[in-house]
């Protein structure tokens, strides 16, 4: 099967069979990471540009390693080194990069909709690596892969997403991805963190973490994003932690085999206690490993690669 898309801008646009194709392809790439020589020639001669306008360690290095393991030439451009600091517009930056004919541009940008803006202007494939509070498709895909591994399926599971939903692109992409794959989604957070009419996205809304995690198969904790807080959403970290922090006592109410996830970076002791992060239910580091496989799959499929189901 082939992915018939130029860009990956949003999980909202992806159909179930497309998500399955990406996850299946990612599974087959996981093995590469376990080899002694972790490099395959699949994308030799392809150029991938990581264009990052926001700080990122995990996502940027994950895309970089993914490209390099498949022998693509990977170039990293970050906001401080790009010409935008000299006043260049995003469209001009994209057009200038296009003139050098890259195959894929991976874009992280603080403005929602920025990947769509440049996708219409360049021939290269655009992968949205997180835009504002809109979407973060590769994160949701790696989360789906992690859930599928931990639980053997996604359909029919109960997933609780806890934290600052309003400012979270991870939450939005996961809601779309989980709903498309047939999971039941609950969200919970302080009322100041629940965006307007989110229930129309097909999720249940709780204003207590205890109610949301009761009976959940998967709990996704979101990071409290201090850099996105420009208003008084909550008084102190202590109070947030008291109301919405996940700790082992609260976890007693969840299912015994619950899987705990977090997109990182973690604020230990704020949204999640250290014993839960490092405890037996945590699949947080599996997420990171799967992130690499999912990004390899995205680069591969957008370069025209096929995944042979029964080859």
């Amino acid at each position: 099967m082939k992915l018939n898309r130029k860009d990956i801008l949003a999980i909202k646009e992806l159909k179930k069979d497309e998500i399955e194709l990406i996850l299946d392809t990612a599974e087959s790439f996981r093995e590469v990471a376990e080899r002694d020589i972790k490099k395959v020639p699949t994308l030799r001669g392809k150029t991938v540009i990581n264009l990052f306008f926001e700080a990122s360690t995990r996502t940027r290095s994950s895309f970089e390693i993914a490209g390099k393991r498949m022998s693509a030439d990977v170039i990293n451009i970050s906001a401080s080194t790009s010409s935008t600091v000299k006043g260049e517009t995003l469209i001009d930056t994209a057009k200038n990069l296009q003139a050098m004919n890259p195959d894929i541009i991976v874009l992280r940008h603080p403005s929602s909709g920025a990947p769509a803006l440049i996708a219409s202007q360049v021939n290269a494939s655009i992968i949205n690596a997180g835009d504002g509070c809109h979407e973060h498709p590769s994160q949701a895909l790696l989360d789906l892969l992690t859930i599928r591994q931990a639980k053997g399926r996604v359909a029919g599971l109960r997933v609780a997403i806890i934290g600052d939903i309003a400012h979270s692109r991870v939450a939005r992409s996961n809601i779309y991805g989980l709903k498309t794959m047939g999971a039941e989604v609950a969200v919970a957070g302080l009322p100041t963190m629940i965006p307007c009419e989110i229930e129309k996205m097909g999720v249940k809304v709780f204003n207590s973490i205890d109610a949301a995690i009761e009976g959940a198969d998967v709990i996704m904790m979101l990071r409290i994003q201090k850099e996105r807080m420009d208003g008084p959403l909550f008084p102190t970290e202590r109070e947030y932690s008291m109301l919405f922090g996940l700790n082992s006592k609260r976890l007693e109410k969840a299912k015994k085999d619950v899987a705990i996830m977090h997109p990182g970076p973690i604020n230990r002791g704020v949204e999640i206690s250290p014993d839960v992060v490092d405890g037996p239910s945590s699949v947080i580091l599996n997420q990171v490993a799967n992130g690499l496989a999912v990004r390899m799959a995205l680069l591969f499929l957008l370069s025209g690669g096929r995944h042979e189901v029964d080859a």
Partner: protein, 428 residues
């Protein structure tokens, strides 16, 4: 010099006329309205057969960008766009560079409009110095120079006390105060309506409450002071309700709506096209319905464009960084007429909201074809359909969400002071 417009259907709500009448212009004034076939001894006849003759449209809310932002629009291009839209009088907002907050800027705009304008230009003065919201501008001096209203449009007047004093001061000068109703602490950082769509798009929303609170505040202040308050670009359901309720209590408040607020909803933002970004933002269906109801029952007195030219420099950027606003002068007439097709307004009511009502709000001689009035006339073709093409606009900017839309109705001739300033292709 005598000219007659013959064969058309004349609609002039200011004198309750709707019928087949010919109109005689002597020099720059309307001299008579006569039954068909009664015209004689004229120098010139304009054939309006099959067309509708109305008073020239009065748009009381536009941004000419001149002085200071002439790369977006200037007096010549903005008034040409007006003429092409059947608009014969415009009132331009003060957020130019320099700001129109003193008599010399006012006088400069008026002088240059006489030189290069195609229609009549009535400046609106800033209420506060530099639109900063903390000290009153020299409103009386600006009035002597020719302003017709005061407003800090584009920016809300943050301090209730300054708004109160501005209303009181303007009352003494018999000027209306135009309120751009927005509570800035609620709209800060927002780039669209707050609702389901802002949740999905991950953009910070501006809640209706931002507008509602300020409309409520300014109505209370109008009531306190007895001054004339005009609410610009009303966009929220509750704001319409507040104005309706205030009017029934006799508060001196009027309101205008912009076509985009009754034609589009926030659904238009899908795809992040910055030409759908405005302030106030496009809102929901219930708000659109409320605006239509407000237009129908007279709560909303006028339709005005908030014509806000911006170039690709301001618009072809990330959505949250893009400037707010769209051009509107050339789409005002067809979008307002769409309310007639929908059955919201009668043709007479639609014309009223484009002519005599806005003229009365800013107190200008216009919007009427009574004998002795200036011969400012639009001859419009209400039946013609066409595809609106943004590459053909007269404005210097083409920031519009309506490109490619099927429109019905356009100006055939626009006449200012008895002279044809615009003639549509395919009209003699």
């Amino acid at each position: 010099m005598k000219t007659a417009i013959c064969g058309g259907r004349l609609i002039d709500p200011s004198q309750d006329i709707d019928g087949l009448f010919d109109i005689i212009i002597e020099n720059d004034l309307v001299s008579d309205i006569v039954k068909p076939g009664m015209v004689k001894d004229v120098d010139n006849i304009i054939n309006a057969k099959g067309l509708v003759v109305i008073p020239g449209i009065v748009d009381i809310h536009i941004h000419l960008r001149d002085p200071g932002y002439e790369y977006k629009e200037d007096i010549a291009s903005g008034t040409m766009a007006a003429a092409a839209g059947g608009v014969t009088s415009v009132a331009c907002m003060a957020n130019t560079k320099p700001v129109n907050d003193n008599a010399s800027v006012t006088a400069d705009i008026i002088r240059r409009s006489r030189e290069s304008g195609h229609v009549k230009v009535y400046p609106i003065g800033a209420m506060t110095k530099g639109l900063k919201g903390d000290e009153l501008a020299e409103i009386a001096c600006m009035k002597e120079a020719g302003i017709v209203a005061v407003s800090d449009d584009g920016l809300p007047v943050n301090s209730a006390e300054i708004m109160r004093r501005g209303l009181e001061y303007s009352l003494g000068l018999d000027l209306p105060v135009i309120s751009h109703a927005e509570e800035p602490s609620l709209s800060k950082g927002g780039s669209m309506n707050e609702g389901y769509r802002s949740t999905v798009m991950g953009l910070q929303g501006i809640p209706n409450a931002s507008e509602d609170i300020m409309v409520m505040r300014d109505i209370a202040l109008a009531e306190l002071t007895g001054a004339r308050l005009h609410i610009a670009h009303i966009s929220s359901e509750a704001a319409v309700r507040f104005v309706r309720e205030a009017k029934t209590r006799g508060v001196r408040v009027t309101a205008e709506a912009a076509p985009h607020h009754f034609v589009l909803t926030e659904e238009a933002l899908e795809g992040y096209d910055a030409n759908t970004k405005m302030n106030p933002p496009l809102r929901c269906l219930k708000d659109v319905e409320a605006i239509k109801a407000g237009l129908k029952d007279g709560t909303i007195d006028a339709v005005a464009t908030d014509h806000a030219p911006h170039t690709t420099i301001e618009k072809d950027v990330e959505f949250d960084k893009a400037a707010c606003g769209i051009i509107g002068l050339e789409t005002l007439l067809p979008l307002t007429l769409s309310l007639v097709d929908e059955g919201v307004l009668s043709l007479d009511e639609a014309v009223r909201k484009l002519t005599i009502n806005p003229a009365n709000i800013i107190g200008i001689k216009g919007g009427s074809l009574k004998e002795g009035m200036p011969a400012d006339i639009a001859i419009i073709d209400i039946d013609t359909s066409y595809r609106y093409d943004k590459s053909k606009v007269k404005s210097k900017s083409n920031n519009t969400p309506f490109d490619g839309w099927e429109m019905k109705g356009r100006a055939a001739y626009t006449i200012v002071n008895g002279k044809i300033v615009y003639k549509g292709e395919s009209y003699e």
